[in-house]
Symmetry: C5
Subunit: 357 residues, 5 copies
């Protein structure tokens, strides 16, 4: 649960624009890969310092700089210097607890997104983790910042290398769209995992609900809160992009952005639906507890109601009065036994009629 409470106290009291990494501590070095392409050529290489890719900035080709690891303020600062990025933006890149947002500057757009991934945990449920991805999109270049560098951008890289689709024929804005699209497409994978968990849980709820089931439902409900928090603001972000307010995004890309927008709305729809379903499951769980309690109480009541009166009868004939004529009768004992059997039988009939048995 820690992920919800990770909050940026390290920064309190610092002047704005102070570059401090907020998030999980990491030690691995920052990896910077560059992909420069146009319709005719493609260059791909790793750099150790950002200076090495300054040349590409001026070329008309599209330059994609992918930075994996935002835990070194120095590196981010240098990138900021080279590309003339506002200090507050650099601060936002380092602070991995941002909400998805968009900032529109004169010569670049800054976009913050959340990339999701999921792991199986011991109890067979998914654990959903989130990673911040920041994009700086300018005329002819895209800089993307990832925390750990999963493989979510690989399909885009592949399309560039193999010149699949129209990506090599278009500019940096289309590349930015492709990256956003890759992240949003990834949400569907997460949702499918969640959906499968939900089906398992639902099966369990019907066949054998335990207090474990209820804990897992609550766990998933909280995951939905978390997902919602990550995806909901994205809608506004992409909507603003697709309304064509920025000059960096060309009109021909807007239809693609509308497409991602539709996908985002679909994702939010699915999350809301999952929430509704989980709430319903919780109701089912609670009413199944009540039902089982009813069952237990019925058993107790039936047993008590049949045997307690009979015990009284046995008690009566166990009394030691001198003058109890029945005790002397020859058939007294079998008569009492028959009476008990008969009474018990009547009780059972009664409960049958009340549909308790």
């Amino acid at each position: 649960m820690a992920r919800i409470f990770k909050i940026r106290t390290k920064k309190v009291g610092q002047p704005p624009g102070t570059l401090v990494h907020v998030g999980e501590a990491r030690t691995e070095p920052v990896r910077i890969t560059v992909l420069d392409y146009d319709l005719d050529q493609l260059q791909e290489f790793c750099v150790t310092s950002i200076d090495q890719c300054l040349d590409f900035k001026k070329k008309p080709s599209v330059t994609w700089i992918n930075v994996v690891g935002v835990h070194r303020p120095k590196v981010i600062e240098k990138i900021g210097d080279c590309f003339d990025i506002h200090p507050l933006i650099l601060e936002d890149i380092l602070n991995t607890e941002q909400r998805p947002k968009i900032e529109d500057f004169d010569d670049y757009i800054f976009i913050v997104l959340k990339m999701l991934s999921s792991d199986d945990t011991d109890d067979g449920m998914e654990e959903i983790r989130s990673e911040q991805v920041s994009l700086i999109v300018g005329q002819g270049f895209v800089i993307s910042f990832q925390e750990t560098g999963g493989d979510v951008f690989d399909p885009v890289r592949d399309r560039i290398r193999k010149s699949k689709g129209k990506i090599r024929k278009t500019g940096a804005d289309y590349l930015a769209y492709a990256l956003i699209d890759a992240i949003v497409d990834n949400y569907f994978l997460i949702l499918e995992d969640v959906g499968e968990d939900l089906e398992v849980l639902e099966e369990e709820l019907v066949t054998n609900p335990s207090s474990d089931t209820s804990h897992q439902i609550h766990e998933m409900k909280r995951d939905m809160i978390f997902l919602r928090k990550s995806v909901w603001p994205l809608r506004e972000v992409i909507s603003r992009l697709s309304r064509g307010e920025s000059e960096i995004f060309e009109e021909s890309t807007e239809i693609y952005l509308r497409d991602v927008y539709d996908h985002t709305v679909q994702v939010i729809d699915a999350i809301e639906t999952f929430r509704d379903i989980l709430s319903g499951m919780l109701d089912i769980y609670l009413s199944s507890i009540s039902n089982r309690m009813n069952e237990v109480m019925k058993v107790l009541t039936i047993i008590a109601t049949i045997f307690i009166p009979l015990t009284l009868v046995a008690g009566i004939y166990g009394m030691n009065f001198d003058y109890m004529p029945e005790l002397r009768w020859r058939w007294g004992y079998p008569a009492v036994l028959l009476f008990m059997l008969f009474t018990g039988f009547l009780m059972v009939l009664y409960f049958r009629r009340r549909e308790w048995l």
Copy 2:
């Protein structure tokens, strides 16, 4: 429940515009039927290839091309080529997991709708299924894409053949309206089925609520979530159409679109009402469980309260003390029996007064 979780993972990682069918796998061939008509003439035939209907496109008559089956990307692609449709639109046609939406291009409008149908299941409740219908409406032609081709468009076909109403006197925009209207009208049939199920369920809830009843209520509640998801966005779609933003829809058709809009709002209203009623029914179910528990506990308490003290009395006179004068009394035994009867009677009176009996 699977229908809620069907999500488009097949497409993740593909460039946009890649034509992949998302949805239930099918094997039957794609059927294409063409209906070309104006006030004076009517042609109707099946084609095996879309090329065969290109001639009609140019004619001033209205051409309705109905494509049943969207599981063959090749076929859809060819249609896209012939009618110059944007690849993203083709992708949307193939992806049957869209929300209802509308896309406005210069020379055609693309509309996605959900067609609903319902089947009786084993437990007598309806199972609601949804099928995607896409419409491409241009100057003089309408292309409609169905997944399986139910009979929902038959009345429209009939009206064209028999020249009922004003359909033969109007253009492609009116045909598009007629198709949308047919789909929305169909919702009322579904709602009526749901309404009947609701009445059955309500009857059951009053006479004989079981945990089955509660499961069916939850099932229906989920169906309502599903319906809502299918119909809600349609409102916005038709509202945009009827606001006359597009040039393809003539002003004289707008009043008809407003009429469909009213119907859509009515459908949404009914769904919301059903949801409210189902929530109320769940509350009734829960309080009926509590009431029954109360009943059961009362029976137990009455039995225990009447018989346990009497058992004590019997126990006392079953003690083996040497000096228990009562045991020697001639009328001891009948006196005790009378005392017991009297006590029991008092208890019953007491419970009567507390209105437990």
Copy 3:
């Protein structure tokens, strides 16, 4: 409950504008009454055919045609022909399952309203019924369509006849206002009935809550859903009228429309308040069930806790061991009885201290 599910399946598959009556089947003939008046004269008569009132249409006096019964498509069609009404409007008049709405045409306004009435049912609660009223308001004439013709318009008729208020000095727009006002005023009567039921129910809830009470609360909650559905859209309708968008309504009438608008808002307010109160009553009912369960359990626990240990004591001295010295004691029996009394007394004290008694 049927009223919520009455849905217009009869019409599915028909071309728009097809005139089919949707609603409860009726057999009585359609009654048409005409009231033609200006400041100086007043004519009032019944007609059998609409042709008879065509003359009045052209006169500058105000003509009010009241049609009771919309179950004869032929009659409605004829009216439509005479007054040149759009077929979709005629369809709406026949379809008594409309939401309140307003349609603005060049030379007339079409308004749909719901008139409510209530009957006492067997259980003393109100049963609320709804009837559709449609108004066509043009220059110099108002046509009103009722389903059964209650007496809600009688006060208006009276005011015209006796020339009370300014109704005879004003035009058709003021007459339309007066009719709407009569319908909205009628809501207050319904609300008062509901309010009285609520007070009865509340009394019952405090003194003697039964599962019947809970059913009636749910019943009333559903009535509120129904009322809300009937009145809520009316707000928008009257708001549009009072904003003066139509030329048929003169500016001097607008202040009256604002007055009706205020009343409508008051009605909606009251419905929402009733809903809140009913929800609160349901909570009270549920917690009273829990409280009673607690009561029952306490009785059981007290009885069991007092008598079961005593029964053990009696059982012990009922054992048949040869060597049980107590049994031989002279005062053994009274001592045991005293001990039992004392223990029982202690238990009672204990329960007193825990405030269970």
Copy 4:
């Protein structure tokens, strides 16, 4: 509770503008007091007829006419004649079931407000009552209508008499502001009373929750519904005044109106907070019932589980078999007693370990 259901049925069927008093019946005479002032002079007197203050209307000084009692339609009508007030406004003044609202005419503004007061009831809780105050604000005069004439306007009167603050230097608009401000300030007193009740209730809820507590919580919740209904529309009323749409209110008064607006928002905020707190208290109450039930059940279970098995043991040695060797043993009886003690002790240990004791 009656106050929520007081609805204006008396007026149904009357033409608009018919002057009928709606509200609690009263018999005391209507009192009219006049206060005429400017910077230099002040006149204050009671009048028996409104004619007596017509002279002041024309003078440039500010005239405040305070009418206590709106149950005499005649009186109100005469005022309407003198000051040329629209009949619908007079109707609204007489109808004490209005929502707070504002009507803007050319030469006066009509404002309806709710004045609240509270009384202690038998159970120590506040009973909140509401009274309608109507203001007519024109150039140089304010007419205020109260139902019973509490002392809420006394501070304003005092400030005028003693020329405290800037009230004597300003016009009728500032006087209107001062009156509204006095009413809104009064809400804070009510809220403080409610807040104190809430604290008492909360104390009770923690120390000794009874079904009485729950009833009082529900009572207060309903009071909050009532307060909300009275105050919520006021926000819109004052907001419209402070936006400076009317010419009667001068720009220099607007900052004061914004101040009242802030206070109104604060009041609404407090009401919402109270509602949230009351909902939370209800949850606490319900879980405390459940907790107590658990307690009760534990006691029962412990007693039954300890004594029922022991009773069986006693019962076994009370059997009358001829051959029961234990009965003949010398130490049989003490051995059984010890065994019982030991078993009971084990049980207690077991319950300790499960933390039930």
Copy 5:
């Protein structure tokens, strides 16, 4: 809880602009510190009277006057005189029960904020306290009013003294931003404390839920209501500032204000998430109570069901009939004991199969 009910009754009946302190009574003197700086110089000193800093007002340097303690109306009034502040603003400064708000005047802006702090209480949970901070921002000066003067502004003071960041190079608007930023940053500290409490509570809820846990959850839920009330209006305040409506805030500061705006939204997001989590925890608590009740009932039922029938058997053979052949049998007693054991064993098996054991 008192903090929610502190309401400004002291002021009721006073003319507007009357300077009365509303809030906790204090006795310490008011401390006024002045910090005057530009790029080249810095002066810092305490003053006893506001007159001493009037000189700085006219200088082009930035003057920050920090007033700690708003409980002396005289002091505030004098400041108002010197800086020509509207009396209503002075009133707002003295009234510490304001909502966060912003008032825009021609030559200054007035901003009200809430500063939060938290203390550990006895039960290890945080107690959150709130203090009002008012800012008056004019051309070249900022006056800040605190109630008690915590250390939240120290980092800003430090940055000015050490000329860290760009604060010495910018104007009064940037200083105002820095102060707002310091307060908002402080919220994150509170949220982190709350988050830690939440984790502790959650641990407790899983391992050992008691009625204490539920009380603490409710306590925290109420804290969230309180936090929400303090922070929510701030969003609007900062949004209005950052939209650049005021001339006092320069365009270069707006990006910083957008940054604070983002932080505020993050804070609100976190509060909403906490609320959702707490609601979920309450549900978990309630279902854990139900579960435990089920457990208790099962134990009772098992014991009763096993031993009550056996007691009947023992009772039967304790009857004193003359003719009970079993009693005479040589192996009767062991046979009955075996029968009892066997029956008990069967019962246990039965409960095992129903998974109650």
